[in-house]
């Protein structure tokens, strides 16, 4: 384990940088988790009856989101997070790559 000193023990500038990075990370998480919520709980459960009036590739749309679409979006969300957060890390000069 690395020493805990490097976050709190650093200069005021380092601390500001860390706080700004964290704020941006939390903002990104909030956006991605809203999408996570919308495709599964929104389209797959709450709005399923409305969406089932439309169809996609032979599936009622709401049913498709519940059994296929949400899973595909979940995969995309994780890779988008990995890519976006490493860009943010580079901008703040933190991270492991």
């Amino acid at each position: 384990m690395t020493s805990p000193i490097d976050a709190e023990g650093g200069s005021a500038k380092d601390r500001d940088n860390a706080a700004a990075y964290w704020k941006e990370n939390v903002k990104l998480l909030a956006i991605l988790l809203s999408i996570w919520f919308a495709v599964s709980f929104g389209f797959g459960i709450l709005l399923v009856d409305v969406l089932n009036q439309f169809s996609i590739g032979g599936f009622p749309l709401g049913f498709w989101f519940a059994q296929q679409g949400s899973i595909i979006v979940f995969v995309i969300l994780i890779f988008v997070y990995a890519a976006r957060i490493s860009k943010i890390e580079k901008r703040y000069g933190v991270g492991d790559q």
């Binding site: 988790l33 599964s40 599936f59 296929q68 979940f74 995969v75 994780i78 990995a82």
Partner: protein, 580 residues
């Protein structure tokens, strides 16, 4: 070669592969035993996580659940995949940065408390044993059906194999065996699905085949909906569960998945924080391959089942109906004495089938269960759908053998992952970190191996003598993870002000609420009626972990406001894990 010989060959070859890997990847240190030395590449870890996660339930039972409950089964599809988003975004990278061996390690250090660590260990052990009993049983069922061994012998063979690579290789052995097991299980799942989708629709991709049109020009889903409604069932694409219950179960399964110790610990094995994120993404790709195929497998199986048995005479019923009847997972009771199988909604008779030794007028096994008044005459255990599917679709013998090897791989890989977290919790969290801090690394490694042996024996016993109560409460594993471990870890990372008193009170409060509710409805002791009219807020025991989680958060924040603030060193630890 006949199917049985092929099955011996496939299962035997896969066992030889696992043992070979185990010998090649022996663990020499506690770090190798607990977290494979932290050197697992992200893609390999993704595959291992997928195999670790996809159990006998995913491989054998899920498509059957979808076949018989249609849209309602979406809770499992979304719940067991959506949890990986929470894991990748909220937990895995930070736990990797923290960088020790176990989940109780994090909870113990973050909340500077032995009590918190021990509470976490207790949750972990209950969750893992609940889960593992089902895996050993799964191995037993596959052996008894395909190799015609008694279930108990199947369990013993499974224990022997897991013993070999889990005790010898620890996490290192398990990781690379799981990579091999993933390949076996996904191949075994996809091959019959592709065959069947192609046979029905001409489209070999099951995910697309489900929405495609069959020979009659009607889409498979429409045909299935129509056939079910004609028989008096709810349409496949409609559900019967209330929205609030769907919502609660899905959320409980997602949060529970993210809080399962044997899944979390896999992210301690990759080299870097960024690898932990990527590896969660790969894991979900590998899982999604099976999970998006399952609805197609379920729908085709249901349609096939209706086509092959409904309004057919027993004498003319296909061979597989009789083989599965012989091992008691299909049963037919000829209520109107016309020799024809009638299929419809409702149970054909009360309870699980109890066979008398005699055969009926048409050669069927006679039952002693009292018949029900509805028209349905056929009982089918939904767990057989994936295993029987290749036979139902009359696929070649090698496909059946492959499915048997895949089912065993799915059960063994999950069992091994669970055994490892149990043994680690005992040797590392209880011995080294709580009761005997003076032991050397060598002793700790020996203790880890011995506790793995003990855990295998307990798991095997539970597999041979499954306690009816435990079999009913798989919900318990997810509920417990959702109401205790997940909130404690989440608050540990995102709320610097969360202190020891708050976290411990929160975990205990969440556990108390969830356990009481599940035990009240699921155990035989209170005589509670487990139906929607009696549930609190209309939430079933399966979804109640969500309420437990809310209680955990509320209690934790309440208590932390009135108790001593988090010490400076712990605040620094939180700042540190937040930086990749």
């Amino acid at each position: 070669m006949d199917t049985q010989a092929l099955t011996y060959l496939f299962v035997g070859a896969s066992f030889a592969l696992y043992i070979g890997i185990a010998i090649w990847s022996r663990a020499g240190s506690t770090s190798e035993f607990y977290i494979a030395g932290g050197h697992v590449p992200p893609i390999a870890n993704g595959m291992a996580t997928a195999a670790d996660w996809m159990s006998a339930a995913s491989f054998i039972s899920m498509a059957g659940i979808i076949a018989f409950s249609g849209y309602d089964a979406s809770v499992y599809l979304m719940g067991w995949t959506g949890g990986y988003v929470l894991l990748a975004l909220l937990l895995a990278p930070y736990l990797r940065k923290f960088g020790q061996f176990t989940v109780p390690d994090f909870i113990g250090e973050r909340y500077y408390s032995r009590v918190a660590r021990v509470v976490a260990v207790i949750c972990l052990i209950i969750i893992s044993f609940t889960y593992i009993a089902g895996q050993m049983r799964g191995v037993g069922v596959v052996f008894s059906r395909f190799l015609e061994l008694p279930i108990a012998w199947g369990v013993v063979v499974g224990m022997g194999i897991v013993f070999f690579y889990a005790v010898l290789g620890g996490m290192k052995g398990i990781t690379y065996t799981q990579v091999a097991q993933y390949c076996v299980l996904i191949f075994a799942y996809l091959v019959p699905a592709v065959f069947i989708s192609f046979m029905f629709t001409g489209n070999p991709i099951p995910q697309l085949g489900l929405g495609s049109a069959g020979v009659d020009g009607v889409t498979i889903l429409k045909r299935l909906d129509g056939a079910l409604v004609d028989l008096g069932f709810t349409a496949f694409t409609d559900g019967t569960k209330s929205k609030i219950d769907l919502f609660a179960i899905t959320l409980a399964l997602m949060v529970g998945t993210a809080g399962l110790p044997h899944v979390i610990v896999r992210f301690f094995t990759v080299p870097k924080v960024s690898d932990a994120r990527k590896s969660a993404g790969y894991a979900l790709v590998f899982i999604a391959l099976l999970y998006t195929t399952a609805p197609a497998v379920g729908a085709f199986a249901r349609l096939n089942f209706i086509d092959s048995v409904h309004e057919k005479t027993y004498a003319a019923a296909p061979e597989w109906v009789k083989t599965w009847e012989d091992i008691g997972l299909i049963a037919w009771t000829d209520k109107n004495a016309d020799g024809v199988i009638d299929y419809g909604p409702g149970a054909p008779f009360e309870g699980r089938p109890v066979f008398s030794e005699a055969r009926g007028a048409h050669g069927e096994r006679l039952l002693s269960n009292p018949a029900t008044i509805n028209a349905n005459e056929i009982f089918v255990d939904r767990d057989i759908m994936v295993l029987a599917n290749p036979e139902i679709a009359a696929l070649p013998g090698w496909v059946i053998a492959l499915v048997a090897a895949g089912g065993v791989a799915a059960a063994l890989s999950t069992a091994a992952g669970l055994l490892l977290v149990i043994s680690t919790a005992i040797s590392h969290d209880l011995l080294k970190k709580t009761f005997r801090p003076q032991i050397t690394e060598k002793t700790e490694l020996m203790a880890a191996r011995l506790s793995a042996v003990a855990a295998i024996l307990v798991a095997g016993y539970l597999g041979v003598n499954p306690p009816g109560f435990v079999a009913q409460v798989v919900a318990l594993a997810f509920g417990l993870a959702a109401c205790s471990l997940f909130p404690a870890i989440l608050m540990g990372i995102f709320f610097k002000g969360m202190n020891r008193e708050g976290a411990v009170a929160g975990m205990i409060g969440g556990l108390f609420v969830t356990l009481s509710y599940i035990i009240y409805f699921k155990s035989p002791w209170f005589g509670a009626v487990n139906t929607a009219d009696h549930w609190l807020f209309g939430i079933s025991p399966e979804g109640f972990g969500v309420v437990g989680m809310a209680v955990n958060f509320a209690v934790a924040f309440g208590v932390s406001r009135f108790t001593a603030p988090t010490p400076g060193a712990v605040r620094a630890l939180v700042d540190n894990i937040r930086m990749p």
